[in-house]
């Protein structure tokens, strides 16, 4: 048991472990996106999915092309774009709340008059 654990934990972390981790995070995001009604929960799910994509970019950069920086910069710009998207989406959600006094997706079609 001890030997097994030591051989399992020796060497660098395999690439598959990082990919599996971001896979779990991404599909947790997809489940939340499909199973919730509140717009804020949908936004939280989108953040989870974007974060999983960031991890993939960074890990591929580190493991396959460690002398380049493409994945690093993609993750950096993705973080900036996610921040922009969250700011605008939350402004829209607050506006919807002001008009409808809730933020459920099924009521959004009442916005058109």
């Amino acid at each position: 048991m001890g030997d097994l654990l030591t051989s399992f934990l020796s060497g660098p972390v395999p690439l598959e472990a990082y990919l599996g981790l971001s896979l779990i995070m991404f599909f947790a995001g997809i489940y939340g996106f499909l199973s919730r009604k509140s717009l804020l929960m949908i936004l939280i799910s989108i953040e989870l999915m974007l974060n999983a994509a960031d991890i993939n970019f960074v890990v591929f950069n580190r493991y396959l092309y460690p002398s380049h920086l493409e994945g690093f910069y993609f993750a950096l710009f993705t973080i900036a774009i996610a921040a922009c998207e969250t700011a605008v989406a939350i402004a829209i959600i607050i506006n919807i709340y002001r008009n409808l006094s809730n933020v459920d997706v099924e009521n959004i079609n009442e916005m058109k008059e």
Binding site: L9, G20, I30, I44, H68, L69, L76, I90, I94
Partner: protein, 167 residues
């Protein structure tokens, strides 16, 4: 050895809290679990040796975006009411969709990824290298996307103020 142990602790934190974040009944708890996931992701970046990305993730995500989320939740949620979920049939369909996708992608990763990479060449990333890459105009340098992001941020500020202001 130590790297592996730290990785598996962070992986457990991310897996557990990302599932909890989308299944929790209260939205403020979901936001808190999302914060834990984002902090553990920052830890992964540190583990991979990208210190700058670690700082950006903490400052932008765990700082800025989470504050926005918590303000929005407190502004749009009456205290005491629980989150409405979709109908059970739709939730089962959502669960099946995500589990099927997870199994499919995990199969592909398990059987194919180990053929792609062989060794890990470690190379240190200096702040000079990051700065030259971000603000250069040659091949593999990123001044144009950097400026585009700055214009996008300005447009977002103006757009968010225009949308959310009182008329």
């Amino acid at each position: 050895m130590a790297e592996q142990i730290i990785f598996y602790i962070l992986a457990a934190v991310i897996a557990i809290f990302s599932v909890l974040a989308v299944t929790s009944k209260h939205i403020i708890r979901s936001a808190t679990y999302l914060l834990f996931v984002l902090l553990a992701t920052a830890g992964l970046y540190l583990l991979l040796g990208y210190n700058y990305l670690f700082a950006v993730q903490i400052a932008v995500y765990a700082g800025g975006v989470m504050v926005l989320f918590i303000f929005a939740i407190l502004l749009t949620n009456r205290p005491g009411d629980n989150l409405k979920q979709e109908y059970p049939a739709k939730r089962i369909v959502a669960g099946l969709t995500s589990i099927a996708g997870l199994a499919f992608c995990a199969h592909i990763i398990y059987y194919n990824v180990s053929k792609v990479y062989s060794t890990i060449a470690q190379s240190d990333l200096t702040p000079q290298q990051i700065g030259h890459t971000m603000l250069g105009t040659d091949k593999f340098q990123y001044l144009l996307p950097f400026e585009a992001i700055s214009i996008l941020l300005l447009a977002c500020i103006i757009g968010a103020i225009m949308i959310a202001r009182k008329r």
